[in-house]
Structures are given as structure tokens and as C-alpha cells.
């Protein structure tokens, strides 16, 4: 329907891009409206704050994933990275008495290294990151289980509570950190040359290389960013749950991927915005939150999330096909114009 109107009025492709972003927003607002009507206590300031805190964890990690995906890669190991960092940092603080500030530094460095490792391996093996991170996912998860040795690690210092459970004014700390991460991510992707290189890598790796981009360094960079942001998520979750658990972070990569795809980040890379991603994250957050309020169980939530994802992807592909048909039919006319 929308594609039809653009076709007739001949709007530019920029307008279609705006429209595409708009579609995610329409879905988001539609869902908010729907649930405001049918879900009790959904449309309340209190619930919105809870909702934002619920999405903050996914949002932070998915900004990292956005870097990787826009650069044409994929990271399946996000959840496992979170698990491993979570367990090791908990052990450091609870069992070895390391002060929180050093434990936090350790977690951030470890997370970045886990990410860098993904990038490094995919360069060395020359295998698609999807497969590399499938491997490292299992490795990281296994290491997490080994370190935890079947226990949950409790006895964290009280001062560590602030990160995941504290508030600044009425706003939960994770929400503030999410806002900072989103701003930082959007800034790097849109305003800096590093962001351009990320898009270039996903758009056309060979052209990027021939244009003098150090492709290896960029790959390691994007995976490092993803690892770093996942380490932040891990710390926030650790502080929130307040004990080290091997289940923390499980399945996070799929929530991030769903958000990214909903938000218009292409699997092929070279395309995507942080604002779209945020809309995607919020759609999932709203669904989770409202379905819970409607006391539909986890299983229903899974089904509904899957349906929404497929609908969004289907719509996206439908739109792209229309677009390519349109450009194809316009080509000959253009050639005549330039030849004349």
C-alpha cells in the first residue's frame, strides 16, 4: 500500500527510507495503543519506567550487535559472552574480594577481548562470523559453566547494587546507561569516519579494502565494540540479579537479532540505523511487558514475538522487491537520457 503510493508519486529513495523507519514506529505506536486499551496498568508512568529498564539490557547489547551486523558480520556469542563475563566477575568479587571498581574494569576488558577474539578468529580462518561465533558461543558458555561449577555465586558487595538496582532521580541506572550507549553508538556510526568504514565494510568489503580501509582492523574493532557493550550488559544484569548465574544472558543474542531485524538492520550489512534499532528493541520490550501484564505465559510470548518478526521481515522484503523492480524498469530511460 505504501509502496504503491511512492511508486505513483515517484518519491525519491530517501523518502522510502524514511517511510521504512516510519513503519517500525507505526508498529511500535500501534502496539502501545493496543495494549493501553487491553492490558491493565500498561499505560502508566510506573510501568513505562519498568519497561525501559527491562529493555535497557537488550538495547545495550544490540547496539554492539548493530556495529557487527552493519559491517556485514554476525555475533551469535553475545549471550555466552554475557554469561562468561557475569560468572567470572561474580567470582572475582564474591570469592576473591576484589573491589567492585576493579571487577568492573576486568569485566569490560574481558568482554572486549572475547569480542576481539571473535573478530580475530574469523579473519584467521576466513570463515563467516556466523559460524565462528557459533563455535565461540559454545566455548564461552562451556567456560562459564566450568567456572561456576554448577553453583550460583552469591555474596557480592553491597556497593555493587547501584549499577543494576539504583536510581538517579526517578530513572533507573540501567536506563541512563542505555541512553548513553545509544547516543555513543549513533554518534560513532553517523558522525565519524569510523562509522563510515563500518558501513563501507558491510556495503562492499572489496571496495572498502581497495579504497584503503584496513579491513582486518575494522572487523576486530566492530567485534570489540560488541564485546564491550555486552560486558556492560553483563555487569548490569549481575548487579540486578545480584548473584552470578550461568543462565544470565541466555538467548540474549536472539533478542538482539530480532530487535536489529525489526529495526531495519540488514543481514547483508551496510544498512541500518540506531534509531530503527531502538524502535525494534522497544517493540520487543512492549510485547514482553504487555503480554506479561495480560498474564499470557512465556510460551505465548515466544510465539507472538516470532510472528511479529516474520511479519516485519516479510514486509521489508516485499518493499525491497518492489523497489528493485522499479529501478529495473527505469534503467533504459536513464541510459537514453545520459547518451543524449
Amino acid at each position: 500500500m505504501n509502496a504503491n503510493t511512492t511508486f505513483k508519486t515517484g518519491l525519491s529513495e530517501g523518502a522510502i527510507a524514511v517511510l521504512k523507519k516510519y513503519v517500525t514506529l507505526v508498529v511500535l505506536f500501534g502496539l502501545v495503543l493496543l495494549f493501553s486499551l487491553i492490558a491493565p496498568n500498561f499505560f502508566t508512568p510506573n510501568n513505562f519506567i519498568i519497561l525501559l529498564r527491562q529493555v535497557s539490557f537488550t538495547a545495550i547489547s544490540s547496539v554492539g550487535l548493530a556495529f557487527v551486523m552493519i559491517a556485514g558480520g554476525m555475533d551469535l556469542s553475545i549471550g555466552a559472552q554475557i554469561t562468561l563475563t557475569n560468572v567470572l566477575t561474580a567470582i572475582l568479587m564474591a570469592r576473591m574480594g576484589v573491589p567492585p571498581i576493579f571487577a568492573i574494569l576486568f569485566a569490560l576488558v574481558l568482554g572486549t577481548l572475547l569480542g576481539v577474539n571473535n573478530g580475530y578468529i574469523s579473519i584467521i580462518l576466513k570463515v563467516h562470523p556466523l559460524i565462528v561465533t557459533l563455535g565461540t558461543m559454545t566455548i564461552y558458555k562451556g567456560l562459564g559453566y566450568i567456572a561456576a561449577n554448577g553453583n550460583s555465586i552469591s555474596g557480592l558487595p553491597e556497593s555493587f547494587k547501584f549499577l543494576g538496582q539504583g536510581y538517579i532521580g526517578p530513572v533507573p541506572v540501567p536506563v541512563i546507561i542505555m541512553v548513553l550507549v545509544v547516543i555513543a553508538g549513533a554518534f560513532v556510526l553517523n558522525k565519524t569516519y569510523i562509522g563510515r568504514f563500518v558501513f563501507a565494510l558491510g556495503g562492499n568489503e572489496e571496495a572498502a579494502r581497495l579504497a584503503g580501509v584496513n579491513v582486518r582492523r575494522m572487523k576486530i574493532f566492530v567485534f570489540g565494540v560488541c564485546g564491550f557493550f555486552s560486558a556492560i550488559t553483563s555487569l548490569l544484569l549481575l548487579s540486578r540479579v545480584f548473584s552470578g548465574q550461568v543462565t544470565t544472558g541466555q538467548g540474549m543474542e536472539f533478542d538482539c537479532m530480532t530487535a536489529a531485524v525489526l529495526g531495519g538492520i540488514s543481514f547483508k550489512g551496510g544498512e541500518g540505523t540506531i534509531s530503527g534499532l531502538l524502535a525494534g528493541v522497544l517493540i520487543i520490550g512492549v510485547l514482553n511487558n504487555a503480554l506479561q501484564l495480560l498474564s499470557l505465559g512465556d510460551y505465548y510470548q515466544m510465539v507472538i514475538k516470532g510472528v511479529v518478526l516474520l511479519a516485519a521481515v516479510g514486509f521489508d522484503t516485499y518493499q525491497k522487491n518492489r523497489k528493485s523492480k522499479r529501478t529495473a524498469s527505469r534503467r533504459p530511460a536513464e541510459k537514453v537520457a545520459t547518451a543524449a
Binding site: I194, G203, N204, A208, L210
Partner: protein, 221 residues
């Protein structure tokens, strides 16, 4: 091998190693043997990044897969090689980016409605000019053109020839790989013919003829 202000033609049958030679010089592929010298000094080129720093530019053979970013706009593409230098504290100076894009759009007469147009919507010739603009923007001293006029309409072809001549007049050394015999004979000051990855011979302007070149290329001489 190539002199300032000269257009050196590189000929040979398909598979003779012309593109490979260009890619090795540009650092896109590792060299098995041989030395590259610039102004008499041997240089180490391990990556395109090195080559660009030494003032070598490549207009690759496969424009869509190696030259342009089809989904990005004209301005983005033209400024891409320059974008790091245009940045202050990693932030891209978009005003200067736009100036550069405008400069090369006018210089190369790139036909595009706006600089925000996606490159995939341009004609082949104009896409090629975008690749050229991207390479010129870094002010190369040596330019390698790999099949610069493949898949381009006649008007744009002539414009690309004029540009190459103008660049050579400005003192830029040009290496041109071409399978188009007329183009090769018409444009080159000197032609080197490759055969099975080795230099089969050098032909100077007075001896230019299709037969000499084809004989060398097929290994008859």
C-alpha cells in the same frame, strides 16, 4: 616502468596477468616475486592502504563490486578515500566533504540530480566517474586504470579519454589496461605486452600496430 605524464598501455590476452599485475602493484594481492620502485626507490606495498599513501590509485576493473558503494550516495562515495583526513577528532567535517564532492562532480561532469543520489541510480559512465573522483580525491601520482571504459556509452568514453589526457598533462603517470585495441593504440604513449604472466615485449609509438601487439601477446615473437 611508467614515467611522469605518460600513458602506458598494458596489453595481453585475457588471463595474461594484466589485472593481477595491477592488483599486485596496488597491494591488493601479495607479490610472488619482483620489486616495485617509485622514483628509483624500492617500496614495500603490503596493502592498498600502503599504495594510497605512496600516491598510487587504482580504478578497478569491476566497478560495481570493487569500485563503488552502490547503496551510498554520490557525496559519500567521492569523499570516501578522503574521509579520514577530513575528520577532526574522528568527526567527519561534512561541509568540507560536500565541497570536495562538488568540486569533483563539476570537474568530471558527473551527471546526478543531487549529491545525495544513491550511486546505483547513476549510469555506468557516471558510476565510473564517481570511482575516478574517489581516486583523484587523494591526489595520486600514479593511476592504474583497469578497463576504464568497459560498459560505458560513447559520450562518457570520450570524456574519460579527455580526462586521462588532462591528467597525464598534469604530470600524472598513468597505466592503462585495456582489451579494446583501438583504445589502447589511440591512448598509449608506449605499450607493454604481457604473455602468460611475463613481459613479452615493449612497443613504442612508431611501431604501434595490432599485428605487433597480437604477435607478442600470443607468444609468437
Amino acid at each position: 616502468m611508467v614515467r611522469k605524464g605518460e600513458i602506458l598501455g598494458l596489453s595481453g590476452l585475457v588471463g595474461a596477468g594484466r589485472t593481477e599485475l595491477a592488483r599486485v602493484i596496488y597491494g591488493a594481492e601479495p607479490a610472488e616475486s619482483g620489486v616495485i620502485q617509485i622514483e628509483g626507490r624500492p617500496v614495500q606495498i603490503r596493502s592498498p592502504e600502503d599504495a594510497i599513501q605512496l600516491g598510487i590509485g587504482l580504478i578497478p576493473e569491476d566497478r560495481k563490486n570493487q569500485g563503488v558503494f552502490l547503496d551510498m550516495d554520490v557525496s559519500w562515495n567521492i569523499s570516501f578515500t578522503k574521509v579520514k583526513a577530513l575528520s577532526r577528532f574522528t568527526m567527519v567535517d561534512t561541509r568540507r566533504e560536500f565541497e570536495i564532492a562538488e568540486k569533483y562532480r563539476d570537474l568530471l561532469r558527473i551527471k546526478t540530480p543531487t549529491l545525495q543520489q544513491q550511486v546505483k541510480n547513476l549510469s555506468g559512465g557516471n558510476q565510473q566517474k564517481v570511482v575516478l573522483a574517489k581516486t583523484l580525491a587523494v591526489e595520486s601520482k600514479i593511476l592504474i586504470f583497469d578497463e576504464p571504459t568497459r560498459g560505458i556509452d560513447v559520450g562518457a568514453k570520450q570524456e574519460i579519454y579527455n580526462l586521462m589526457c588532462a591528467l597525464a598533462d598534469d604530470g600524472i603517470a598513468i597505466i592503462m589496461i585495456s582489451s579494446d585495441m583501438e583504445e589502447l593504440l589511440g591512448m598509449s604513449d608506449r605499450i607493454i605486452v604481457l604473455c602468460e604472466g611475463r613481459m613479452a615485449g615493449e612497443v613504442l609509438r612508431p611501431q604501434f600496430s595490432q599485428d605487433t601487439i597480437l604477435d607478442l601477446a600470443s607468444g609468437k615473437q
